[in-house]
Subunit: 228 residues, 2 copies
DNA sequence: AGTTTTGCACTGACCAGTCAGTTCAAAAAA
DNA sequence: TTTTTTGAACTGACTGGTCAGTGCAAAACT
């Protein structure tokens, strides 16, 4: 329980992809492949059952390795979880920012950029539903070991959206009366919950379809006259 | 057990337990009062730590009750949790439906009703932040004992919103192109996440303030010309 | 070449501690 | 009296984490 021993050399962990990138390719040592398997096993189990209810034995079994291997690769159960969080949110923010930049490059407006981000968010959630579940479930918890990691990681996501909102306000495209942080949070929530519901209850629907519904809601065409 | 709670430290989120509602006159036996105390204790602990990480001993201690009392009043830890869930969502849906009905009685439009529900939702979350945390954290989990309870309870909430949306569509107030279930889910998500962020990161803001921001977002005045 | 050594990655039985749930005699309300 | 609560002891299963030992492929050596 108590680690008097300070990790002598914090190994720079290079996390690759979340799901198996069918190509082990060069550079990936045996260890790296094992880490990958552990991430994949952990993300689904924790999404389903929660962190505390998921045992290290389960993770090891699912990954097809011995329990000791988990502790050979990660200092503790929570460290494994934290690295999983960081990695996943890294992918998400990269995807969001990339979408916004692409929209800008195409000469789109900031509304277009926001729309592109919503689409990117939906795409991410569709690709990594387990990670999203896990993130939502842990985000507002307090008094947890990885509280600080969670805060850092949340800030990254929200900031990506806030940036676009602010640019839009500066460009006169959005009302300058909007509350940027709150609106960003609300948008995250809208996409998050809509996407999780989509995945959970109407998985047969297409991304385009869901995206269109959310765009409509966002652009205020809900409370308006019937569109032609 | 280890109680390393830092006394008097900065409390990140002031969590108010589910206090007794406006004096439930009937059935207020001694047992009922004990149950209430147990709900209050359980809701905060589980919101903070999650179900699995919360022990029955902790709940009993927090409620100021012996452990045996917990098992005298509830068959098991998960039964306690399920009843807590049902109780809390009952309060929420009642609040939402009451808000919509009140708006109707005042001769408001369906947009007004929706707005009133958003306000009611924010009010509920502000009053019972712990319950909300707990609900969000468990909602999309799978393979859990209380899965069915959770589904029933979710349906109640979403249905309350869907009803108003449908009425609005029928009255020609909302576009008939909107996707009612998805829009309802998105609205829930918007309010949920915005409110939790409000409570966690800007608790000093007023409900009116937050409500105004969300109304603005919903009515599409985000992407529009600057309002006068 | 063939042989020996090195050390990384992995193993799984094991340990010390924890937890949900039980039991029950006695006390305190009602 | 009857109902409800108490509080402590107890059980049996489970859990995070440990550690002496294994396997093996690439070096080092002869």
């Amino acid at each position: 329980m108590i680690h008097d021993r300070i990790a002598g050399g914090p190994v720079p962990v290079t996390i690759r992809a979340m799901e198996s990138t069918s190509v082990p390719s060069g550079g990936s040592s045996r260890r790296e492949a094992t880490r990958q398997k552990l991430y994949e096993a952990a993300v689904t189990l924790i999404a389903e059952q929660g962190f505390s209810a998921t045992t290290v034995d389960e993770i090891a079994e699912r990954a097809g390795v011995a329990k000791g291997t988990v502790y050979y690769n990660f200092a503790s159960k929570s460290v494994l979880f934290e690295e999983l969080l960081r990695h996943g949110v890294g992918l998400l923010t990269a995807s969001l920012r990339e979408a916004a930049e692409q929209s800008d490059r195409d000469g789109g407006s900031k509304v277009d950029a926001l729309d592109a981000m919503i689409r990117a968010g939906l795409g991410f959630i569709a690709r990594y539903p387990s990670f999203t579940q896990l993130y939502v479930a842990e985000l507002w918890r307090t008094n947890r070991a990885w509280q600080s990691t969670l805060m850092v990681v949340r800030r990254e996501v929200v900031a990506a959206i806030e940036d676009v909102l602010r640019e839009g306000v500066a460009a006169g495209e959005f009302s300058d009366e909007i509350d940027v942080p709150l609106t960003a949070a609300a948008l995250v929530g809208m996409v998050l919950v809509a996407a999780l519901d989509w995945q959970a209850f109407q998985p047969e629907r297409s991304l385009d379809d869901v995206h269109a519904s959310l765009s409509r809601l966002l652009q205020g065409r809900v409370s308006g006259s019937r569109t032609a």
